[in-house]
């Protein structure tokens, strides 16, 4: 035979195991979470009463003599029911437990039964005082200690003969309080865990819904932004055009434009707004509209760009600016008149194998309202290939942060002078893709290619 202390400990351990499993199962049910979230329907309260009434009966039935004193967790069920579901649930479960206790008889039957109902009621009142929410672990466990103390007080007050009641209470008071407090701790712990878990999952759901909404908005923004670019490129006798803009994110700050002009002349624009993402996209919408209007108004590129700068400067908070190259092609005269406002110099590969860069002739738009812009003119020859690009092309990086580079682009463009506009565009895109490989595209990338027919 094992010593009494060991067997009693095993029995106590067994009781706690039942409490843990019961607590786990009951807290996972829908009605329990509904009650925790404030849905105190009659059906939920009835289930609560029944479930914790049964736990209370188990508490009486499993009661054992521990070191010679009768010990039980009858009050635990009604207390939890009260803390979770309020006074009705607490009293209900208490009445079931009390009814069973009465049938067991004994000189403490009335006091113990009354204590069980009262424990359920008081726990329910605490729930009410706590705005119908489960109180924290500390309050629930302190409540359990207090109610078990009250239980002992009732035995002393009601049960007779008094001498027997005093002897019983002095034997069981401490273990009864301890075991019920432990049971309450288990429930509180699991219940609060559950509440945390549900709160986290609610927040995650909300965050995901928000994310979905934002993604949908960005998708629409992207479509709107794409509509700012020319839907198709004009066909020019003796010339060919090709263009493509690829934002690094859903929306970007690059744009290009092809504008009709009086006398068969054609305006070409390529531009790159500072920064990326939504701020850049908004500024791009402003800049492209302003530039289009200004180009329609003015004959000379210099005037169009100066005016656009003045307008953009008025709107450029937080240091936003846009580098822009604007040129007017006169197809008949074969001249290109341009202004480079701080943009990466376009490359012109000439039929003779040389390459010139159309250097910057002024500051980026939006940076300085008093900026002056210089206009330059070059003559085109049959076979010339003009490549306009944004820095997303030359600064495209591979996995080890090596940039594609200006020199490599220049070399490439020089070798493409015999190709069509579309072929040249595709070849540059392929070369950049071969350089970056799997590295993610970091910046918006735009190319506009003009080929002079030979």
């Amino acid at each position: 035979m094992l010593p009494e202390l060991v067997t009693d400990s095993i029995i106590l351990f067994q009781m706690m195991c039942v409490v843990v499993i019961f607590a786990y199962l009951v807290t996972r049910t829908r009605f329990y979470t509904e009650v925790l979230e404030g849905a105190f329907s009659w059906k939920n309260q009835a289930i609560l009463i029944l479930a914790f009434g049964i736990l209370s009966i188990y508490g009486s039935a499993s009661g054992v003599d521990i070191l010679g004193a009768p010990l039980n967790i009858r009050d635990l069920g009604p207390m939890v029911a009260g803390f979770v579901g309020g006074p009705v649930a607490g009293i209900g479960a208490g009445v079931i437990g009390a009814g069973y206790r009465m049938t067991m008889g004994g000189f403490t039957a009335v006091a113990c039964s009354l204590a069980t109902v009262l424990a359920g009621l008081l726990a329910g009142l605490i729930n009410l005082a706590n705005k119908r929410r489960f109180p924290g672990t500390l309050l629930a466990v302190s409540g359990a200690v207090l109610f078990e103390g009250m239980h002992m007080g009732l035995v002393l007050l009601i049960s007779r003969p008094l001498s027997q009641a005093v002897e019983l209470v002095s034997d069981v008071a401490f273990p009864m309080i301890a075991v019920n407090a432990a049971g309450m701790f288990i429930f509180a712990f699991i219940t609060l865990n559950l509440e945390n878990e549900r709160r986290t999952s609610r927040e995650r759901d909300r965050y995901q819904a928000e994310l979905q909404r934002k993604n949908a908005e960005l998708q629409i923004a992207r479509e709107i932004q794409e509509s700012f670019l020319p839907p198709s490129l004009p066909t020019l006798p003796g010339y060919a055009l090709a263009a493509e803009s690829r934002p690094a994110r859903e929306v970007g700050g690059d744009f290009y434009d092809v504008l009709g002009s009086p006398g068969g002349r054609v305006g070409l624009v390529i531009a790159d707004v500072s920064d990326k993402g939504v701020p850049a996209a908004l500024f791009m919408a402003l800049s492209s509209t302003v530039m289009r209007a200004s180009a329609a108004w003015h004959q000379r590129p210099r005037d169009a760009v100066s005016d656009a700068n003045a307008l953009i400067c008025r709107e450029s908070g937080s240091g936003m600016f846009v580098t822009l190259f604007f040129c007017i092609l006169d197809p008949a005269e074969m001249t290109l008149t341009y202004v480079n406002a701080g943009h990466n110099p376009p490359m012109l590969a000439r039929a003779d194998g040389s390459l010139i860069e159309l250097q910057s002739s002024g500051i980026a738009l939006g940076a300085d309202s008093g900026a002056a812009y210089e206009e330059r003119e070059i003559r085109l020859s049959p076979g010339d290939l003009l490549v306009l690009y944004t820095d997303g092309v030359t600064e495209a990086e591979d996995a080890s942060q090596q940039q594609f580079g200006d020199e490599r682009l220049a070399e490439l463009v020089r070798g493409l002078r015999d190709r069509t506009a579309g072929e040249a565009l595709a070849a540059i895109q392929e070369a950049v893709a071969a350089h970056t490989l799997s590295a993610p595209q970091y910046d918006d990338m735009t190319l506009l290619v003009l080929k002079v027919g030979s």
Partner: protein, 117 residues
């Protein structure tokens, strides 16, 4: 090459000097922007930014410096940049920002010079 931007501040007399080291792009610039704004909010009107440790600057980085310059100019102040590496200088040259900022070869030169160049 690094993927971060270190921002350090030193006072030389009355003038705050900001040392930017590493890579100034869309991801890393917000710290520097907050730092510059904090100095201006506190009442500093002269700011020297030492770029000797800068390896790369994107348009997002230029925007941050331009934003600071505009705020300082609006309240009668000035921003001086010093010690630009050739690649950084090239980015400033292309955007035309070399005409907008006061650019010095070294920190001593920037600190010893009057704002009205």
């Amino acid at each position: 090459m690094s993927t971060i931007l270190q921002v350090a501040e030193e006072r030389r007399g009355d003038v705050p000097v900001l040392f930017l080291k590493g890579r100034m792009d869309a991801t890393t610039s917000p710290d520097a922007e907050a730092h510059i704004n904090r100095l201006i909010d506190k009442g500093d009107r002269q700011l020297v930014v030492d770029l000797s440790g800068l390896e790369y600057i994107s348009s997002a980085g230029l925007r941050v410096l331009l934003s600071g310059l505009k705020r300082l100019k609006a309240s009668g102040g000035a921003m001086k940049l010093t010690a630009l590496a050739p690649e950084i200088q090239k980015v400033f040259d292309i955007a035309g920002f070399n005409r907008l900022f006061l650019i010095y070869r070294s920190l001593d030169e920037a600190l010893g010079t009057d704002t009205a160049r």
